[in-house]
Amino acid sequence: MSQDLKDILGRLKYTDDAKVVQQITEQMKAVKNRMAGIRHKFVVMSGKGGVGKSMTTVNLALAFARQGDQVGVLDVDLNGPCVPKMLGMRGRRFAMTADGAMPPVGPLGVKVGSMDFFLEELAPVQWKGPMDLSPVWLGLTEMNVIREFIADIVWGKLDYLLTDLPPGAAADKPPVIAGFIPDLDGAIVVTTPSEIASDVVQKSIAYARDLGIKVLGIVENMSQYLCPHCGVESELFDGDTEALCQALDLPLLGRIPFDRTLARSFDKGMPLLDGDYATLKRYDEIVTRIKALVDYKKIMARQL
């Protein structure tokens, strides 16, 4: 019988009469069309949780905005979205239109897309139905929800879109999510100088590279502790991010100290925005370096 079936299938022409393939193709086209107005797309990732990925994402976005760029932040940490809270946007909602979902606009004109805009305060993400605790179904659903976040938000014209990925390393979702974004410029990886964080970050970089995602460079967060009283910087960890960058052949985009004043301002949803503030200047420098990296070919053509 199996041989018969093989022969039969060999003679038949497949038709997509349930139109499933057609719809998936249309979904992919929708993503591409939606992203067409965005000049540069980055993901901010780290294998390790708690290294300050979201803090880095929002501050880079604000730094781009301070330099006059149109910026969007896509928070795809579905189960732990925190970008709206950091930017003082809790309780805001997407405006649903025939063209798509209009994202709320935050400080310095930064547009934000986040699962938080669907949730009540302190409410976790919970799904309906008999499969809600099935890991297989959850994985599939979350991927398609993220696809909707990428395809359905009306970003309009943007210079930069930064996507804040959930934590995770090798056999996890983040690099796969990054693969959803067409014409991705690259990944910005966040770590702390902690050796434990560096270990996991290396794995996520190896996995991302394996999937063909270009890694632009590494941001070292919590490099030092900045004393709010005397302003003296002290080392928090003994690691060596420069050695990590050298080993991975990646540029160190910048080092950000743990700044209690800055951290508290984002914690309270009243972010510091003053470009003259010392720690924010460091984000501005990182953004300048990122621009040099994405415009590398143009710079080479013009200045070599």
Partner: protein, 240 residues
Amino acid sequence: MKFVCMKCETYMNFEKVEKPGEGSLGVFFGCPSCGARFTMVTNPGETQMVSSLGVQLGGRTAAAEPFEMTRSGLRGEGPGQAEMANYLKEHYGDKPVSTTATESSEKKSGCPFSAVVAQMGLGSSSEAGATLSEFVWSPDALDRLEKTPSFVRPMVKGTIEAYARKQGYTKITLQVMDDSKNTPAGIPWAAAAEKRLENIPDFIRPMARKEIERIALERGAPQITEAIMEEAKTKFMNFM
């Protein structure tokens, strides 16, 4: 998914979808030759699996709403799912399907995958062997490797060995280590070319250097000259 009419040896055509009950789909197929028809009926779990693809069987009759799947799937949004919950209780008691399966396998072994891992010979007994290198490292190469910080050493070692494997080497020497970095060390730079490289901002200069050296290597050039620089510039102008 397709169905084949074995009598007529042809694909059956998708005809329509009906909802015989909450959380259930009846998908109808018919044979274009003999007219035989049958219906596949899904349970709520299978229905939810299909809906999580964000597609509608048979195609859409109206354009998708923004965040259609997200909004309809989140608890507390959209119509209630009481009937699905009832189905679940009826068939599986109070425990969800997934946890029932996991718990039973965990009780047996502590890990649902341990039997598979053991079958594949990937268990703890083989772990020590996994750390042994298939390559012979020369003493000076090993010395250099040991000078790298301990937390990046596995990554560095892995990268070098992957390169060596690809090249068919069995021994890791200092030369292999250098070559694995893809930096063609030893290509000299003419003074004028070196000066010209300074036009590139500090931060991206190492990348530029590497790119130009790569071009020189491809051409078999013994030195980085202004001609090579000009070639690199032309290459980048073509990207603009």
